[in-house]
């Protein structure tokens, strides 16, 4: 076990802020501050609360303190041939596991792995009024009590400071192959739909600029077979390619703002904005660099929703608002976990 247990310091800080009714802006590595609305509050740093608390490769579970750097966790897993299956983007070396879970982002593997929340087995949180609470655990199957742990994924810290998180991890595959094929947008979506109905081990896809890049994982013999069946040319540095897509280092993302993320049905034909997207997750996730809020209506018309992922200045509206009935539940949950409303107020929505 390494690191430092900063529970006491964080608790003191939260209790003091509660007493003063001072809003707190929870900060891990501060790598994803661009995502979500600006929080007016004092910084609550989690980076003094670090360390892998437990990790036994035979359990397929890793528990770490919220401020633990993501890359420390990834390194520990790699040493035992394992990984975080949802391939989270870090958007910077300082990214922490707490911030990663709070933002709920998954990388290129998402279409095959499922969302980040699927891998959350347990959490220990500090509520807005300074209660340390533990939900879930370190086992694969657990239906005791309501599943509060998974609800923390993607809550952007609005329901609690993530003190510890337990994540399910999985083995790395024996081999990986990245293939590139030429397709226009409609052709690529049709091919992805066809591939995802087969049992072929497709674990990532990216279409941009007339080129469809696919990642497959399995034994070398399986990968040879896949290549025989679908053709394409091998992308030599596949690892770097997928890193660039995951971290938005790919040329598509260069200096392009505002950047919109659309979550739409995989095969949906999105009524053509004047720019071409970068398409991931077999069509479920599409990126558009477009300076127009008309994209919100376009996403809705396609049966999905849009997020203003990056923009130049502070944005008033970032995430699509849920239906009113769900908004009322959001408010009730906020009252339960953060009665004084001091944790990241306004990060997701103006009133949340």
């Amino acid at each position: 076990m390494t690191g430092h247990d900063g529970t006491a310091e964080i608790t003191d800080r939260v209790r003091e802020a509660t007493a003063r009714r001072t809003p707190l802006r929870i900060v891990g590595g501060d790598t994803k501050r661009f995502l979500g609305r600006e929080v007016a509050g004092e910084a609550l740093r989690t980076t003094g609360h670090t360390g892998i608390v437990s990790y036994d490769p035979a359990e397929l579970v890793l528990t770490a303190r919220g401020g633990t750097p993501l890359r420390e966790i990834e390194a520990a897993l790699a040493e035992h041939g394992q990984r975080l299956p949802f391939e989270p983007p870090s958007f910077g070396d300082a990214a922490t596991v707490g911030g990663t879970v709070a933002c709920g982002l998954a990388g290129p593997a998402r279409a095959a792995s499922g969302p980040l929340r699927d891998y959350v087995l347990g959490v220990r949180i500090l509520s807005g009024d300074g209660r340390a609470l533990r939900f879930g655990g370190e086992v694969m199957k657990n239906v005791a009590g309501y599943d509060v742990a998974r609800t923390m994924a993607g809550a952007f810290g609005t329901l609690g400071v993530l003190l510890d998180v337990s994540l399910k991890v999985l083995p790395r595959p024996p081999a990986v192959r990245t293939l590139s094929l030429s397709f226009d947008q409609a052709g690529a979506l049709a091919e992805l739909e066809r591939l995802s109905r087969t049992a072929l081990p497709l674990t990532a896809s990216c279409w941009t600029g007339g080129s469809l890049t696919l990642r497959f994982e399995g034994t070398e013999r399986t990968l040879d077979e896949v290549q025989r069946r679908i053709g394409g040319t091998i992308v030599e540095d596949g690892t770097e390619f997928w890193r660039s897509v995951r971290e938005h280092a790919h040329p598509f993302f260069a200096a392009r703002t505002p950047l919109w993320r659309l979550h739409v049905p995989a095969a949906a034909s999105v009524s053509t904005p004047p720019v071409e997207p970068l398409i991931e997750w077999n069509g479920l996730q599409r990126w558009y660099a477009l300076d127009s809020t008309s994209i919100l209506a376009i996403a809705a018309a396609a049966g999905g929703h849009a997020t203003l992922f990056r923009c130049a200045g502070p944005a008033e509206s970032v995430f699509t608002r849920p239906a009113e009935a769900a908004v009322r539940l959001h408010a009730s949950l906020k009252t339960i976990f953060d009665p004084a409303g001091i944790l990241n107020p306004g990060r997701m929505y103006p009133d949340f």
Partner: protein, 485 residues
């Protein structure tokens, strides 16, 4: 209790006479779920045919302040569908239509009373299936699966209900409709879908579910390994998982269970073994070939006395048949059995199984183990005779001791069967008052007057105080002569 006549009249007016039961001789059929030790004849049973009728029932119940207990097929193992006094039992079995199978989007939209297996059957022509497969899958319904977050034998690789659910429509306690989740996988705002999944009918009534379908595997293989020591078999489980293989299923049976299964199903289990491990591998041809070679080698190195690979689908089915029939097979060994459901970190399997054996000897009640070893999900079956005075109580006490042991090693009191009425006491061991308060607050957020399935799933703090006072370390009850509720 005689049902409130105005309530009955309003339900009859809304649903018609063939959808409302109030005569005790008709209602008695719904007195319990598969936890048969607890029974209560419901005062009123309603069998709505569509969402609008479910909403009508909830609205009527709301104006009368009557509690509502939702029920699917009644296969639950924790008493979650046990009727409550003065309440309405809302039976959803008539809503049994598959509304849509969309092979392009790999999803199915179904009504709550559709059986688990029916979804896979409807998906099969498209080369797809619905992965969670509880042992009751022929009968159990998707509404109940969502309420319990049901598992099965393929969870390690394919996940639980929560991993295979995209969207649910629920009727709230007032009969309003709420859509949670999204067919895309992620809805805007907080992730409320996991909160609803496994909430045991306490937060809302599922009126429709959209589930994910996955492609059928190209090749399936089944390996059976036998061991002359339980601990060796338990350790082999960890060796397989640590080696990088994720089996589709990894199931273990101890000597008592495997001999009962063999006598019942003639499935070819070695009679002299102390434990048997079934390891199913699936995927693409070459990948499975590699895993098969790795797994058989590993099992031999882990001390297996025999390792056999099923030669064809027929032998695979025969080898599985014993495991699948293990509960009824063990059931033949004694007049009654009591099935536990704790989950523990896999590294403690050998120790915990050893401790259970010791506890079983002290209690004087045999325990058979047949369980999802890959998930660390134990199903100790405690054998007893309810006809003998005190034996049911002894069985329940041994069960509670086993669950406390699971919590003590870092596990949980229920992996997949739910808390229901059965594990309210052991829940007090797993959660402190602060967490339980949060659960009650969540319940109030969805159901302010506590009308949906009241008294289940989350114990009151008062109950935990009683439970704590009653149970001391070592599991000895200070007032053994007092009845426990």
């Amino acid at each position: 209790m005689r049902p409130d006549t105005t309530l009955l009249r309003e339900l009859l007016a809304a649903l018609g006479p063939d959808a409302v039961l109030s005569a005790p001789e008709s209602c008695v059929a719904f007195e319990c779920d598969a936890l048969t030790a607890h029974r209560r004849t419901p005062d009123l049973v309603v069998l709505p045919r569509n969402t609008a009728e479910i909403q009508a029932v909830l609205r009527i119940a709301s104006t009368h302040g009557a509690p509502v207990v939702a029920r699917g097929a009644g296969t639950g193992l924790s008493g979650g569908a046990l009727p409550v006094a003065g309440g309405i039992l809302l039976v959803l079995s008539r809503l049994n239509r598959i509304l849509e199978v969309d092979p392009q989007r790999r999803l199915a939209r179904v009504q709550p009373g559709v059986t688990n297996l029916a979804i896979s059957e409807a998906a099969a022509p498209h080369g797809l299936f619905y992965a969670p497969d509880p042992s009751s899958q022929v009968a159990c319904t998707i509404g109940g699966n969502v309420a319990e977050n049901s598992g099965g034998v393929h969870c390690l690789k394919y996940g639980l209900t929560v991993h295979n659910l995209l969207e649910v429509r629920v009727a709230t306690c007032d009969g309003e409709l709420l859509t949670i989740g999204s067919p895309l996988g992620e809805a805007p705002g907080l992730s409320l879908l996991p909160l609803l999944t496994g909430s045991e009918g306490m937060l809302g009534v599922v009126v429709e579910a959209t589930v994910r379908l996955v492609p059928l595997p190209e090749r399936v293989e089944l390996v059976m390994a036998s061991f002359d020591e339980v601990a060796r078999c338990a350790d082999a489980v960890g060796h397989i998982v640590a080696s990088g293989i994720v089996p589709a299923g990894l199931e273990m049976m101890d000597g008592l269970a495997l001999r009962a299964a063999e006598a019942f199903a003639k499935c070819g289990y070695p009679q002299d073994a102390a434990a048997v491990l079934l390891c199913e591998l699936d995927g693409l041809d070459h990948d499975v070939q590699q895993q098969l070679e790795d797994a058989t080698g590993l099992l031999r190195r882990s001390g297996a006395t025999t390792v056999r690979v099923a030669t064809d689908a027929a032998e695979r089915a025969r080898m599985w048949s014993g495991r699948k029939a293990a509960f009824p097979a063990v059931g033949r060994l004694a007049p009654d059995y009591y099935c536990m459901d704790g989950t523990i970190p896999r590294r403690h399997l050998a120790t915990v199984l050893g401790r259970i054996e010791a506890m079983s000897r002290v209690a004087g009640l045999p325990v058979a183990n047949v369980f999802h070893a890959g998930d660390g999900n134990l199903h100790p079956l405690i054998l007893f005779d309810a006809g003998r005075p005190g034996e049911l109580e002894r069985a329940e006490r041994l069960g509670a001791d086993i669950l406390e042991l699971c919590v003590a090693v870092g596990g949980t009191v229920t992996g997949e069967h739910g808390v229901g009425i059965e594990k309210l006491g052991p829940m007090c061991t797993q959660f402190g008052p602060a967490e339980l308060e949060v659960f009650h607050a969540i319940k109030r957020a969805f159901d302010p007057h506590g009308r949906l399935n009241p008294g289940k799933a989350v114990p009151t703090l008062a109950r935990c105080a009683d439970y704590g006072a009653m149970r001391v370390h070592g599991g000895k009850l200070p007032h053994a002569h007092l009845p426990r509720f």
